[in-house]
Amino acid sequence: AQSVTQLDSQVPVFEEAPVELRCNYSSSVSVYLFWYVQYPNQGLQLLLKYLSGSTLVKGINGFEAEFNKSQTSFHLRKPSVHISDTAEYFCAVGPLGSGGYQKVTFGTGTKLQVIP
């Protein structure tokens, strides 16, 4: 079984300030990790993903995330946010493996509100 916990349901931050959105996961097997972003009235889009290798993953729009296996965390960061980053962010986890159905479990989401 696997699960994802996003500790903050809402994060307000001033424009040009840094932000960190927290994500912790649990799984009995090795996993892939994802961050998706949902802009208002749109579907989810992939922001970045971690498969293996370097624990620091860079995504689109200046976001990055760091995989920490010992702490089972995959926090998302951006050094300077813009108004356009206002959206809901979802952390997700899926099991390593090939073929067949691989269940992806989503967190409950964090709403990032960038304040001008």
Binding site: G43, L44, L46, Y101
Partner: protein
């Protein structure tokens, strides 16, 4: 247009009515999924399909029916809508994964209100 299209985008219906949400993808992806998004629950999987004529239940399948007669279409039917099915519904797809991460591509969503 290439992509994944959901219709209708907005729907209001009454309790007990049948509603069908449509999903169409142009990539010939093997897998298709239906999720519902509710405040405090994130995304929960309703049904998924591995190929035409192959479907299986997700976490919250009760009250929903799916079919997949063609690879590109995956309609979701609420046979007798209830107020608890008021939600935003997302269709997603991905190709069969032999290695690498199973990245999902999502439609824009269908907002359903059951009165």
């Amino acid at each position: 247009d290439a992509g994944i299209t959901q219709s209708p985008r907005y729907k209001i219906t009454e309790t007990g009515r049948q509603v069908t949400l449509m999903c169409h993808q142009t990539w010939s992806h093997s897998y298709m999924f239906w999720y519902r998004q509710d405040l405090g629950h994130g995304l929960r999987l309703i049904y998924y399909s591995a190929a035409a004529d192959i479907t299986d239940k997700g976490e919250v399948p009760d009250g929903y029916v799916v079919s997949r007669s063609k690879t590109e279409n995956f309609p979701l039917t609420l046979e007798s809508a209830t107020r608890s099915q008021t939600s935003v519904y997302f269709c997603a797809s991905r190709d069969r994964v032999y290695s690498g991460a199973n990245v999902l591509t999502f439609g824009a969503g269908s907002r359903l209100t059951v009165l």
